[in-house]
Symmetry: D2
Subunit: 471 residues, 4 copies
């Protein structure tokens, strides 16, 4: 099966230009100057399918490097399965996710790794890789790290919060970092001071503060800034590369920027919710409404200008990646926390909307078109060892291609654009001045003509190499 | 004329991969997956010329964004003409230079622009663009700025030193920056405090200090740091983009990094001499020997670790570009300053060796292979409005291609690799673990099989667009 | 004449305590524990005068280190003569001023020094010292510096603004700093980039912007930050101590703090107007009203929080001194600038109210009581070589004593507390929860029982030593 | 008993001057201008004792705010009892110590407070106060904090290291800080990341590294910097004042300076060992010799310039206090760690030499004479609520007076000046260009004519007020 995409503007991380893209089976066979006669063949006549991308952007498929499909948490499961979640992702132009294998304290990381494969295999609409969560790092975890790297799991997420569930203490973190420094893998960090947060939550509840907004107020920026700095310093001590997930506080972003200024391999990710939503407006919505936006790190105060700072840090590459931390719960699940904000399952669903939401940042002038591609696809690929196959439109790369229409429009919300398995949308009412027109994954059409053409099982596991982004 | 480059590893700023490159006339027609049958033709049989790049890197031609061919200065002229200088550049894998039109105080910028065209036309081996130097900014200079932008001169260099020759005072700088902010052009700055330097030079000479090393000692880092900060603040006031040329002091680089951290459009360039050479070793060589390395900003003290800091700033993208500031003088010219260091013509010749010298940084682990391509070609192109045509291997781009052999070797020095019009080499004795194998400019072979195949007049003037690098 | 001050709380820079103070003639003879019988005499019976300070603070007389009495500027003279200005100062608890001898370009510094002595001699109510302003530094200025140090003028003010009037270029500044580094004197700096300001003023007027607020808008914070940084770097180069006068922009204060963090002898002064007044409220008052508050550096925007930052910098000793920059002009004089803000004489009168205004900062919790004494008296004394005689209540020190009543009240304004020779008060309507009760200068009563007991001619010239504040 | 000290130069934190000091019983009765006749009496004839201080400095008695007499640690006790330790202190001009009550995990703070009183009562040569160590903060600890504040224990030391012994986790620290913020007391912090250190120690021992130098190498600067930052951020969250003890790493000092720049009440102490001694020279001495200097935080690398940075931070008041952390162990005790550095009792004895060692910094130009008094006496008094009685020579203050002879000399070492109960001196061979001539405590002569005149039991417990140093 050969496909020729003609007439579009190919956009990559450093620039844009007119080019036709020839797909052959699962890979990109060639990029060709439009109208070139140098090949000596009429390609359009020759291929099986021609897609006209005139007036549109042709970009590498989006990579969402932070999702939690079917994640077991707090006695329930994230509402999207690998099937529903990856289908929604496809609708939004994301053709690869990197999901988190969860190893809770006491479990064997390799067992869980196998379990996650079992959950994903045969169910995914798009390709997927895995990070491994390590809770309560033990010596056995260190051995598992080496084995997992050989399996293509080259990044390990640790937690500085959620005591008794995920948390590793600083000595455990150092041990994992030492191993990462030796086997070349990346340490990902949930950087919040759990000990402090647990106390504040307990004190808040004791004062009778139960509404969702207290989720945010008991996770103050100091808890994030502190943990971020601590993670950076432990990485400095061990020489491990560090990637801080879901940065939301401007002070945390400043710590990352400062570490980068000294040449340390420290990186940061933010999420659409930290760019657009706020403590006051969403988390502080009347009654229990704010539960929709309970996630950790929490939404931050707009009065303190965290959102502006996140955009700026994206522009200056002090934050390198935008992922979603997709971990949706339905309101029926959120209601576990009625009367006690600390029992609300933590998570927001955005896997479908990341490219659109960030494209709106291009429209409003927050980021350039090239930077959009870079933070949504190219850098995630480089950061997590996918580049070459993913994250770029180049010969030999997987034929993961999105055609994005800057003249289209997308209305987000239930009954509008909404394919995630959620009974509400955290992005209800958001209007995007652009549209995901066509999505191909390894040459197969997933989205076209406003319809879904994909199938569960198309998506394959991707063994990842070591990070290609280290300085 | 069609050329197919096969078997190589194409390297760009974000990654690398195997790809064949098809050149058709002056442009790149296609990038093709090696061995692909998707095109339905045997390209190798079909083209006029096949170049085997097996085991080699295929990269976009180097762009040296800072050269001074035939520059009139201090009563003499830089020793390389556009003919000799661009030929030497070609030998070293540089296929585009951006040279500086010089307008001295009292001259008409547009007249000088025309004069520079006259000097370059018909003489260049490779393509060339122009920046415009504005001395002693007048209202007429502001009008000229708009006209020059229309001519493809989208960057203007100002000087904070060389009173009576180049220097603009701060009010004049603000005026030029205001105009740049309105017409979208870039301000380039020679950031040294000339008033302070002039005093120190006069005091030094009065003390009988005449050796070349006093050139460095009378241009202390404080003079560079101060001017860099001042330029940044004036840019902040006016909203103009700023590009600081030839950064050599770590403290100046820190000012640039700090400005970037706040989201300002401030960029910095360094040069090979500030990465490898030092005040103590070269400028302080016995007798008059140090004159070989008299340039401004001066070589910095290795004991103060400026060189290490420059490499680090390149890694973290706090400096974005490496140019040469190619401005060679023969020792016969340098001798103007025998007995008075202040009369030594300022300048070093490196246009031939930039790619090699920076590749050695890849070998020694200072930068990645991708970063090498980025700082030598891709970012210069983006910074100065050349991207699309230059700085990238992509369909439709100019067929400026370098094949670099990581298994080759290059010995620099007179009687070895040396094509610049200089009677000495500032890089004598440098050994490079790599080699410029083949160089094509707009599809024409300039260097191949160890020989020069180019010709004066092949190179054309390139109208530049506005910077494509702003944040 | 012996005076015993009993029952008060003596406050100095490090703490407070009950103590009686015995004055003998012009000096402090002893500090005595109240009720002590150790001396074996009944002092109260023995002395000529007993002043009951029960419930009040007894502090060293205020030192205003920055005044401009009778200063010739812009075709007129500051409205307070040494007679009226020092009398007003006495009313407000200031017992020493350090005024500026003005040497304009082309004048002989020593001639001007003599002229200022002539103006002050026989006219002052309180003691006075001199700083010397050096405009357009020449070699003759450098020789004068040494002679003036011998005369007790150990600080020299330079200007980075007011071209053709006061401005020295950077080379001239370095020359003066080199001399200061060698003779131990202090460089004071008016740190605003005059070249930029002159341009902005000219552009603003050309746009028809003539109201007083444009005085502020054409002297943006960038112009102050830039010049402050430049002065710091030149001081770094030369090793001279630096004291930046009238700091008003938070960014300038940050530059000073940063220099201090590296151990450089850099200090900063702010003034009451930068703590309390703003661009929006005062300088932006309707019509020509804002002219009352035209001074340089200008009042800053409250929306940008400069005022808060000044208070904070005072608390952390990143700014060390509060002076007034007393330079009053009557509205009749201010009207020189009707229709052209650039012609409004620059200056505000506050010499009378400094202690009261800062005491209000104690009341509102901005600073501690001890810090009030430190920034108003002790540090000015140390900074400018007066300590021992001035700035402290200690045996042997000049009997310059203020009794301050924390239960008193002061209403500032015309017809209320106003003794400066101005036809308006820039502090009209300010209410202070404290009162200057009694003022003695070298043992003579100047203020007591709400009346002025001083006389022109009591005040004497004070030869100052080198700064006692260097680190 | 009346004593008159005549002819000396009284030095306090802001300056110096000639003054006679009259002591009446336990307090200072008066400071008198030498030769003054204003009192109308011949005091010298009138008093019981005249001490001639001609040519000498008269300063407030030293305050060592950090000592551990008889401290139980690691199965042994610090070698100095309250009797021997305070006597040695007296020899060195220290007239007040603030010692640490130790509450280990599981103990009742108030019981331990009583126990410490029992140990000290009747044994001390000089006055003493107490800080309270809180280990493993419990709710009962919080209640104890309020009671202890009423007892004059207004500062509480927490540990971020020594798990299972002293360590409080971050939630516990926050709880104690919240209480401090509400009752006005100060939190003192041992800021080292114990979790990391415990791991590094275990790994080091597992590699067979047993020499004393590994004590330093397993407590890297990152562990101190990290904990310092964390403590600052927790203090920021709670509003508690924070005092970081025994700062030795320059990076930790930078964190403190940065916090001060933002106006936070964060302070730091260093010790003579961190100013003079190093990892390479002392801790790395051959064989087991280095055990003499095993203390925590450890001696730092001189190659990394920590020592220079500590001096600079003292000059700029980024560190405010020099204490000793006096916790001496004899070599017989140190030998507990033969073959296992982690078993060497942690501590160095310096209580006798602090004033001398710091005075040598005056001689070498590191600090001014006034700064010497400030960091050794005045600021410790203010920081810990002693000012007024201690830390200043003023009427009504305790007659704690040291006469220091700048023309004297002190040779430190066994058989020379050494009164601490140690079988070696960590300061062996140090030569001081000055000498503690005379020491009085509340009017009683402790040291005079080279002999000890004090007695166990003279020293009294001092109830401290809240800190007088907050900004
Ligand atoms: Zn997380
Ligand atoms: Zn997550
Ligand atoms: Zn230049
Ligand atoms: Zn140049
Ligand atoms: Zn001024
Ligand atoms: Zn002034
Ligand atoms: Zn400790
Ligand atoms: Zn201790």
């Amino acid at each position: 099966m050969k496909t020729l995409i003609t007439g579009g503007t190919v956009v990559n991380a450093t620039g844009r230009g007119a080019a036709d893209v020839l797909l052959d089976g699962e890979t990109i066979a060639a990029l060709i100057a439009p109208g070139s006669t140098a090949l000596g063949v009429d390609l359009a006549a020759h291929v099986d399918r021609v897609i006209d991308a005139t007036g549109k952007y042709v970009i590498p498929g989006g990579i969402d490097a932070h999702t939690h499909m079917e994640m077991p948490f707090g006695g329930t499961f994230a509402a999207d399965t690998f099937e529903t979640g990856t289908r929604a992702a496809a609708w939004g132009g994301t053709t690869t996710i990197v999901d988190f294998v969860v190893q809770y304290a006491g479990e064997n990381p390799l067992d869980q790794y196998a379990a996650w494969h079992a959950k994903a295999a045969g169910n995914c609409a798009i390709d997927y890789g895995f990070h491994q969560i390590l809770s309560d790092v033990q010596d056995s975890s260190l051995h598992a790290m080496d084995e997992l790297v050989a399996e293509g799991v080259t990044s390990f997420k640790l937690f500085m919060a959620y005591k008794g569930v995920f948390l590793s203490d600083d000595g455990q973190i150092v041990k994992a970092m030492q191993r990462a420094a030796s086997n070349g893998s990346m340490i990902m960090m949930h950087a919040e001071n759990g000990s402090v947060i647990d106390l504040l939550v307990q004190q808040s509840l004791a004062r009778g503060e139960t509404d969702p907004i207290y989720h945010g107020l008991t996770r103050p920026w100091q808890a994030e800034e502190e943990a971020t700095h601590r993670a950076i310093m432990l990485a400095n001590l061990t020489g491990a590369p560090l990637y801080v997930v879901h940065v939301s506080a401007k002070q945390a972003a400043e710590q990352i920027a400062r570490a980068r200024d000294t040449g340390q391999n420290v990186f940061g990710e933010t999420c659409p919710q930290y760019l657009y939503l706020s403590l006051e407006e969403q988390l502080g919505a009347p009654g229990f409404e704010g539960a929709k936006w309970v996630c950790s790190t929490p939404l931050r105060s707009r009065a303190e200008h965290h959102q502006d700072h996140m955009w700026r840090a994206l522009r200056t590459n002090d934050l390198q990646v935008v992922s979603t931390d997709h971990c949706p719960f339905c309101m029926t699940q959120k209601q576990l926390g009625l009367g006690d904000f600390s029992k609300i399952p933590n998570g927001i669903g955005s896997v479908e909307h990341r490219l659109d939401l960030l494209y709106q940042g291009v429209v409003t002038g927050e980021i350039s078109l090239e930077r959009w591609v870079e933070i949504c696809s190219t850098t995630p690929a480089r950061m997590f060892g996918l580049y070459g196959r993913k994250g770029v439109l180049a010969p030999g790369a997987d034929a993961d291609v999105v055609i994005y229409d800057p003249n289209g429009h997308t209305s987000i919300g239930l009954g509008k654009t909404h394919h995630m398995n959620m009974d509400y949308s955290p992005w209800e009412g958001f209007e995007i001045d652009g549209h995901v027109d066509t999505v191909l994954s390894r040459g197969e059409l997933l989205i076209g003509d406003g319809e879904y053409h994909g199938r569960a099982g198309h998506g394959r596991y991707v063994k990842r190499e070591l990070s290609q982004y280290l300085i």
